[in-house]
Symmetry: D3
Amino acid sequence: MKQIITFGEVLMRLSPEGNKKFIQANLLEFYFGGTEVNVGISIANFGEKVKHISCVSNDFVGDTAISYIQKFGVSTSAIVRSDRPLGVYFLEVGAVMRPSSISYNRSHSSFSEIKPEMVNWTNTLKKAKWIHWTGITPALSKGAYDTLKAGLLLAKEKGIAVSADPTYRKGLWKYGENAQEVLADLLSYSTIFIGGINEINEVLESNYEFSNDDFIEASKALMKKFPSIEKVFDKIRTPINASWHKIRARMWNGKEFRETSDFDITHIIDRIGTGDAFAAGLIYGLQEFDDYKSMEFASAACALKHTYEGDVNYATVSEVMGILDGNVSGRFNR
Amino acid sequence: MKQIITFGEVLMRLSPEGNKKFIQANLLEFYFGGTEVNVGISIANFGEKVKHISCVSNDFVGDTAISYIQKFGVSTSAIVRSDRPLGVYFLEVGAVMRPSSISYNRSHSSFSEIKPEMVNWTNTLKKAKWIHWTGITPALSKGAYDTLKAGLLLAKEKGIAVSADPTYRKGLWKYGENAQEVLADLLSYSTIFIGGINEINEVLESNYEFSNDDFIEASKALMKKFPSIEKVFDKIRTPINASWHKIRARMWNGKEFRETSDFDITHIIDRIGTGDAFAAGLIYGLQEFDDYKSMEFASAACALKHTYEGDVNYATVSEVMGILDGNVSGRFNR
Amino acid sequence: MKQIITFGEVLMRLSPEGNKKFIQANLLEFYFGGTEVNVGISIANFGEKVKHISCVSNDFVGDTAISYIQKFGVSTSAIVRSDRPLGVYFLEVGAVMRPSSISYNRSHSSFSEIKPEMVNWTNTLKKAKWIHWTGITPALSKGAYDTLKAGLLLAKEKGIAVSADPTYRKGLWKYGENAQEVLADLLSYSTIFIGGINEINEVLESNYEFSNDDFIEASKALMKKFPSIEKVFDKIRTPINASWHKIRARMWNGKEFRETSDFDITHIIDRIGTGDAFAAGLIYGLQEFDDYKSMEFASAACALKHTYEGDVNYATVSEVMGILDGNVSGRFNR
Amino acid sequence: MKQIITFGEVLMRLSPEGNKKFIQANLLEFYFGGTEVNVGISIANFGEKVKHISCVSNDFVGDTAISYIQKFGVSTSAIVRSDRPLGVYFLEVGAVMRPSSISYNRSHSSFSEIKPEMVNWTNTLKKAKWIHWTGITPALSKGAYDTLKAGLLLAKEKGIAVSADPTYRKGLWKYGENAQEVLADLLSYSTIFIGGINEINEVLESNYEFSNDDFIEASKALMKKFPSIEKVFDKIRTPINASWHKIRARMWNGKEFRETSDFDITHIIDRIGTGDAFAAGLIYGLQEFDDYKSMEFASAACALKHTYEGDVNYATVSEVMGILDGNVSGRFNR
Amino acid sequence: MKQIITFGEVLMRLSPEGNKKFIQANLLEFYFGGTEVNVGISIANFGEKVKHISCVSNDFVGDTAISYIQKFGVSTSAIVRSDRPLGVYFLEVGAVMRPSSISYNRSHSSFSEIKPEMVNWTNTLKKAKWIHWTGITPALSKGAYDTLKAGLLLAKEKGIAVSADPTYRKGLWKYGENAQEVLADLLSYSTIFIGGINEINEVLESNYEFSNDDFIEASKALMKKFPSIEKVFDKIRTPINASWHKIRARMWNGKEFRETSDFDITHIIDRIGTGDAFAAGLIYGLQEFDDYKSMEFASAACALKHTYEGDVNYATVSEVMGILDGNVSGRFNR
Amino acid sequence: MKQIITFGEVLMRLSPEGNKKFIQANLLEFYFGGTEVNVGISIANFGEKVKHISCVSNDFVGDTAISYIQKFGVSTSAIVRSDRPLGVYFLEVGAVMRPSSISYNRSHSSFSEIKPEMVNWTNTLKKAKWIHWTGITPALSKGAYDTLKAGLLLAKEKGIAVSADPTYRKGLWKYGENAQEVLADLLSYSTIFIGGINEINEVLESNYEFSNDDFIEASKALMKKFPSIEKVFDKIRTPINASWHKIRARMWNGKEFRETSDFDITHIIDRIGTGDAFAAGLIYGLQEFDDYKSMEFASAACALKHTYEGDVNYATVSEVMGILDGNVSGRFNR
């Protein structure tokens, strides 16, 4: 079985239990996550062979991060170590009208030290069929950007599928490069675009701003600028409040526009990583199903992720298919 | 005060806290439960004198199970011990569209060893006014079936009320007997039937399958086949998803059909044992109220059980009556 | 910056985690609270300088209570110590149709020993701009009533604003005074009335009972009897069940009647102290905004409090304003 | 089987986990205890039939206390309820040179309300063979003293064994009676004295103070003053520090003096209730063994109790005998 | 790098936190363990490539067991699944003179179903350099014995090292075979014997019983009967009580007898798996060091294991070497 | 009352509960600490007025750090905020022969950004009587060094006592200055030296290395080089293993050498911050007692700190004096 490759920072997530604030707590739950490794683990839970590439700290925290990823059967053999600490983020989970808060300690993390020579892309991509990247990675450091670019370049050469989730997070991007240029550069190697109107407007950099209703036009404009992009998938979140969201998705694949109906997530357990579950669902789905079924699968995966604590989507293929088959009634699986 | 007798397996329930999966956890909460002992404890919480009959392991796990039952004032003096381990079940609690999952380790449990000679029914039923059984017990082993049958036979002789919850769980029933025949045999000693269309269809074993709308017809057919059955009560669960259910009930007592309105359980805490709370509410209610009021009491008890963690319904009579009186507003009891 | 003064009992709150009953638990979470100190801490979280006056036990429990209040930057320099134990309350948190239950152990607490000579009001009020009291304090003991009265008397002399939350809790009031007379006495020194029709009816002591729709008439009658009262604010709670409430507010300031729209609190985390958050919001707001904006601010503060565990409202001014600006969508604050 | 009767206050014990101080904690573990009920539960764990008599609060805290006692199979049928709260004590557990600290909230507890007419001694003692009392009970209130005295009087009449642990705790005894007189009064009905030189000196009230080496002389003087006392047992604790104690015992039964060797308790888990375990061991032992063997059994029970968390001694007879047989090597019981 | 192979049952271990008894707990910590997988994980922590062969349940418990083993980088690719539940053991951890207690639920576990045709030994041993077995495996079922024997036979053919820890546990061995014969059969394929006088006496089955001082003679007799055995290693535990042990080791390799000095383990954290850590230390050591140094390494590994919670030895090679270098002073590794 | 000033980094400490390793845990306990703030809090617990000066992150983690310090009544009014994250350290607590491990994430922390212009020393020292510094602060950044130096310079001018704990930690000191020169510079303003032979050898920078027995000679040499130093205090730790230490102290005050006897800390709870407790004990003691008594007080404080979880010494003056009075027997404080 060929591998799916994810590349990106692994962060330690620390949050008080339940909806407590830090000032109330003296215990923190911890998980490891990061948008790309979340995608990788979720795909591994769908039964694919996955390798995650990263750089983690050379201490017991880094050991634990690697162990955490291995637990899901994701290969960690290409993860390198650095003397800098692992990136950390602190999370206070909101409820109803109270938003969640996140505070990062990642700007000098082990991952931001990564350099192209630390990753043997030639070896790694030999057994690969897909590589996934997000806009977080090139935002972190020149080394991260260069390393990613080296991988995408080779992937393009070898005809490996490249999915892009070019999220633009303004608070990052402190090392000097222009975000729009960098993202555009990386999109030129990509085949699947996972994002909505905001992301499209960002990378088009035109004077014209598409509105949320212009999805098809915007997708066309995107594909015109980046001819390697074959399909655009957009997950739409309609929040009632921090505890209750609705999720649906839409797509343009150059030929047809499709949209799913809403999943009604009445009691959110944890919404971190739900976008990553959508991306993972797409990457899995597009290898098994047609475009619309893939999007449905991805939406159901995304919806299910809201019911798991932590960053990771634990759902298996049969659990996602169960949702698509309408089993939402709360019957026990015995 | 005469006793109410319950007879059945006591299981240890192990589940991660909250909605965690096993793979995320390193701590498990444990409770003891089992459909019949849940009924017994709930009735004891209504103030009745209850004795539970079972066979548990002869180790500190069995000691703890007995201690757990004693905590509620239920008599454990007729519980016998065996060298086999107590049955265990593992539970992952779902949310929203994610169903809960249960995995059993009960097939060679201490209870499945029970034999008729281990229970002194003559003594036990001397002080009894009611006995309750479910379809789980005869599914477990020939010994369990025979022991139960011996008790029901004597109960019938002595005119003791016999309530039956003949749930048919296909995954059990591995020791060779035919489920439908066994359940029919046991129903022939029973006076109160707690179940719906599925259960009726199962035990009628006719070619014709009643639909959910045929409740009165089905009940009549049931009573025709089992003339000892005087009343049929059916709890109807309408799930929105795993976190949000509606509960109502309907009845046929040979004379009139009645139906309650829905309880809207918007934030389920724990749905295990809610059917047992309904049965317990009926058994208590039928000794105090008319049939309809009993069914209302049972429905409210069932609804309330959704708000307690664990298998057990902690509600007292006055707490159930408070719900029936419309106090659902979240005011504090000070 | 001048101080806001709160005066009242500090209680230890003990409750099992989540929705557990005591009989299920072997761990209790604890917080410190009490309606007046809750108000004080909430105002301190809005950035005001606050001093809380009380009497706590002279043991490690009292030390911990003081430390807890200091944590929020509230001055504890005027808290005195007594050999009697700190008051305690036990809480079982309900859900859906199950109400929460509270059991008090406060009748011989350290606070009930307080005497006027234990508080140096002259010094305290020198730097004060506002004092807040509730109907709980004069209900506890003659000493508490006398001490409070001494403070209000001096506040009135010095033209310091006095907000009153004259909650009447029948179960208290055991030391011999007549609740209505005492509350009326204390209201005669007060400028802001926080309460609804029930509270107004209680203190008017007339034969006529205003209905919930008579808010303006009732407020006018109140102001007629207590000419020092300038404004009446009423928080209206519409419960769907114990887990889901709606909150709005209305006011009469002698000139205009205004009412806010509802906040829909679909997943309550903890409703204790939500009234105190409303009072704190008003006290803060009336110093910064006009009456209506103050009431909106107070309502949003009250709504937000439902999302925090414990008695205390952790919301800052910018967090409350965020809600008023419509940010309820569950986006992360990064 | 005849019953052993214990009579005394049931307290709720609240302590942070491990060696934390209250100021560090936000969770408290809770147990129920009290010197007499500890003795009762320990004896029940030895297989005897035990009834505990007390008065607990009429709320969910009192319900939980009763449930806790039932868990061990101790009869609670003679426990009465009161509107006053259950007594509480707070505990910070020390280590090495740091002593443990206890703070009580019991002076107006439900038990202190008990009155002789609330206990039907005639019925209770009908099935009794032994009654145990301690010096804590008559220290709490006149009602507690009178109720206890009524029981002892009847016990003496009926020739029931009466064991006395006349601990004198100075901080109690606030209701007006003279401790020495009261204890002497109650000792005059007692047959077994459990205590050391300090306790003997207290109740002798002579000018002469026996030293620790005068055990035989002191015991003789005690027996002279209280001719009903047949045997004196003294547990001797030699602390190295708060985490490491040695325990031995000595006795005078009017005929011979005996002393055990030391148990070396190198890693104390919880020393509360260890004296109660000694008393329970004696009460059990004196019915089964000769005096010396009883004292050995009691010492081993006391030593074992240091290894259990909470107030209660969980050891069974065979576990205590295992220690006496020298099995202290840490081998597993499989 | 060639692999080390371990083969044996994986059990779920459930125990209350700290020294609590089940009757006191409502939470259980869980780990996965089993003597052979403990050895495998420990060797993996020393940096070797390890594959564990087993049969686990086909449910989320089995998934979690596999995930747990993967976490340490041990290959699980040869683990098969069965419909029977995973074996479970319950543990109460003693202290001082209180022994720990274990209760098993393993007699019908998934592992006991294993059959030779479920393991592809030819493939597995292709990349193997060592295989380790214990006396637990052949005690469980005929299938387990046969499967193990098939592996050892092939290992002998291929000249792969075979270490044997032929622990004899009488409570197992219920499927009909004679323990001594079976163990002797398996020892005939083994090269390293890990065990003491008791184990040697058992497998020699002679009339003569060696005493503990006859180690050299006994080893010689063993080697005479089983000529494939080259070396005998014996770990000697001297318990002061359940919390404090001393550990040393001795060896006979056909040429010389050596003995280490004692490690003084003054505060045991968890002694389960300490024998497995000794075996793992030997297997690692014998590939790197001479026999005496290997035994020293193994003893230090065993001693260190007493300081980790759970079944697994987390120590790395450099941590073990640090102990051998005398760094026991409690200085921090920063 | 004049203030004692401490200046230094506040770190978040994160560690698994008990002796768990990170790889075993999913919860971390957190505290705030740092050698200087530990000293400050400990002195505040002795009843002194303390102000801590630092720079913490401008997020909810920094808010929580400030709140944590306020809890102990230490003034935080001079703490400034930065956009960089708070420093973090991760801790795995060892046992017996297993050392504890620490991993830092502090190199780009908020504190390392501090600059002299961020601290108003003139105002701060107006009300100060003592300032304490350690060798950690000047190791972190030039800004930290310069800021500290500015304070010490002014303190010297004003004749304020300056205690120095010039710990040299090699792993820090990465910003370019020479550690020995910097420490010598800062010692030239100091009056009390807290350290031993290693620290003296470091700052003397001579070719000659004093041995541990040369304490008096070494102290004299130190005082010769740094004439402002009046007294040298040295805490001597004799570890048996990571769980069991002995602690004593010695001093040279220019006139006499004194040494205390050992405190035997048989069961260490947490040794972090024990050196800080010694320093705090000295600073408190030297204002109340003679030099020897101060050293005794400091040693007892240090010993007691080993019994508290976390970085902070919770002991009060009367608790320390209790130890000096010989109360180590584990009696309860009731």
